[in-house]
Subunit: 452 residues, 2 copies
Amino acid sequence: MYDYTNLDAYLDSHLDESIAELSKLVAQPSVGAQNLGIKECAELVAGMLRKRGFATEIMPTEGAPVVFGERKAKSDKTLLFYCHYDVQPPEPLELWETPPFEPSLRGGKLYGRGVGDDKGHIVSRLFAIDALLNEYGELPCNVKFIIEGEEETSSVHLHEYVLNNKERLKADGCIWEFGGVDHEETPIQYLGLRGICYVELSVETAATDVHSGIGGSIFPNAAWRLVWALNCLKGPDERIRLPGFYDKVRKPSTRDLELMAALPETSAAYKKQYGVKSFIKGLTGGVELRVEEVFTPTCTICGLTSGYQGPGSKTVQPAKASAKVDFRLVPDQRPADVLEQLRRHLDAEGYSDVQVELLGGEAPARTDPDDPFIKLVCDTALEVYGKPMALLPLVGGSGPNYPFVHDLGLPVATAGLGHPDGRGHAPNENIRMDLYLKHAKHMARLMAAFGR
Amino acid sequence: MYDYTNLDAYLDSHLDESIAELSKLVAQPSVGAQNLGIKECAELVAGMLRKRGFATEIMPTEGAPVVFGERKAKSDKTLLFYCHYDVQPPEPLELWETPPFEPSLRGGKLYGRGVGDDKGHIVSRLFAIDALLNEYGELPCNVKFIIEGEEETSSVHLHEYVLNNKERLKADGCIWEFGGVDHEETPIQYLGLRGICYVELSVETAATDVHSGIGGSIFPNAAWRLVWALNCLKGPDERIRLPGFYDKVRKPSTRDLELMAALPETSAAYKKQYGVKSFIKGLTGGVELRVEEVFTPTCTICGLTSGYQGPGSKTVQPAKASAKVDFRLVPDQRPADVLEQLRRHLDAEGYSDVQVELLGGEAPARTDPDDPFIKLVCDTALEVYGKPMALLPLVGGSGPNYPFVHDLGLPVATAGLGHPDGRGHAPNENIRMDLYLKHAKHMARLMAAFGR
């Protein structure tokens, strides 16, 4: 065991200064969806890197700029941090106890929009770097930061940026933007993300809505067309009906199942948290539920809209109807394949009148649970958190990890300051001070160990 | 042919006064859905009847009061007029060229909310009575008016009112609240109305919406439940799947088909007016289209709502979903039967989680096209309109004619001042002055002939 007493002591005694720096960053709005403060925030972040001796560039994309920073060390190992400086919109404002862009520290928590997602991660990682520089005068390994500004708006230009900067982003391991502990304070290692293919289906059958007394018997009805088209995508058996959809699905390995079996039971917590009475597909709990949750692809209706939706009755035959549908993809499915299968299936089933618009696509990607880099991240966490990280081979959500895993060939590990009541994307987003400090201690240890 | 020169001369020379009276009635808002001016309007209407020597009562119901008026004559024949004094909400106000409750006469038309539906009918019928009283000093037949205040809100208390007042409402024939001419200026005799069973289907699968990355694979999805439940009501073959639904459907008679065949072609006009590219069930036009339009019952989705409906994407699994569905019924179907069939079918198909709320129900009813009263209405129209009335055995819309036909045993005929661009229920509702005058002339002739 190495001695991190000095690193820890530095971090313990400089927490207030780091929180002051984080508060400055949170006070700078950077709402991508509202095009608010993006440029200013990129400059602020670049300045924070420069202050630590990072060679820094603000690199334009077709969308928000990417902040890239690199600090070399006397080491042949390079660690890449992926973060983002953009945040979710703060609305609804009235539900915030303190204003979203005026960070507020109370009860051991810092509140503000983006405090956890993802500005806290940026600053606690820089805090770890401060401790290392204070202790050694230099970093134990080469460190690179890629801090994008479109994570909350589907990272639409990130893949292209990565492909255009493969040499610049070259590294030996990548720490992802998020991470944290679960309800039992167990730190979680998320090893993979599902992909996504998010589409809007829409159909228009007439120029205007028609009185249902006139049109009901003889005109096509947009809402019915939509219902039938959706029904041909998935039936009550939950089987997705696109021909070829399951062809590239990789079954969980024996190792995956072993890891899933080691995770805690979730069924009771899910039922309580979401008010769900029972699960689908006859699932009741146990490892079967956990495996089904992440290792199967989905076809989810996220929204439906058509015709009259107010109180009481209106006798109208709708001219338009639309649905938001998201397919969550597992390795080795690809959004482009699903999009093509969807169009072909709708046409084959007689729904060529149903339009398909792609609203977002990301491929799934995973890192090997037994990669040495994952082991290092877990080993360095153990001492800080006092218990081993739980390894999740795959989680249900999606994110832009595919280019890091498959184009850069990196093992991608998660580590972070998140906690179950952090309210990411919601009012009163917050981080816990103790976890902020733990994440900095973890990252300081990781960089020290990685460079050895 | 009788001589109506004096009656016509009176009506021609007193049109301005009648329009002034109508304008006063239109200026009194009476929006049932907004509980606006109902009582005041009932009193205004009762005063107008009293002025013509009608014994008048404002009779309470559980909802809006019914105005009943009766004027006896030296005749054993009684004519009953069914009208309503309530109007549709005027919104959206910004689309009115002149304010909805400030009647405006321009280009030979009177504009205002309720001017055609139904206040113009009330006042033009009273105008006909003025002409008769002026000419003869008394009415040629007994005349009764039932003028309700809930027609625009499904006439929920009318059936009970009729059942409780069968003696009072006794008559030999009934003139319905609406009527008018088509695009070719042909007056139309609508002989029947379809019934309706309007329901809201709703399903709730969780206490809150859930991130689609978490719930998609294992939680029930309200939107999917709704889609599948709807799909089991009617498939793309347009056949309604409720067992027993078609059992009481009466096929059109030979006489019905003969009348339908005599009507003008509608396919091109429909396509143009509504922007519909083609009809369902392989229909292309001709008598088949017209028969299918009214003689088959329907199951129409009037609205769909669930989850995220804004721009772009939101990855959410909806906890709630609902649909407005209207069944149009043909003789001898009944709304209560359909409601029961619907509940039973949903349960049988595994959708007992789908709630059904009845939002409105009316039974279908028809009058025999060869009833002598219908002949009289048509004969008296011929001289005024210069062409024979077209007889429609049944129309696609619904209304509360069932208690008049089946509980009071009356032949119900339509006659009115409507025209195709009258914009009922919409901004800039209007009536044509020439048709207002013609309707009064027609009604004066009808009462004179009926009493003979």
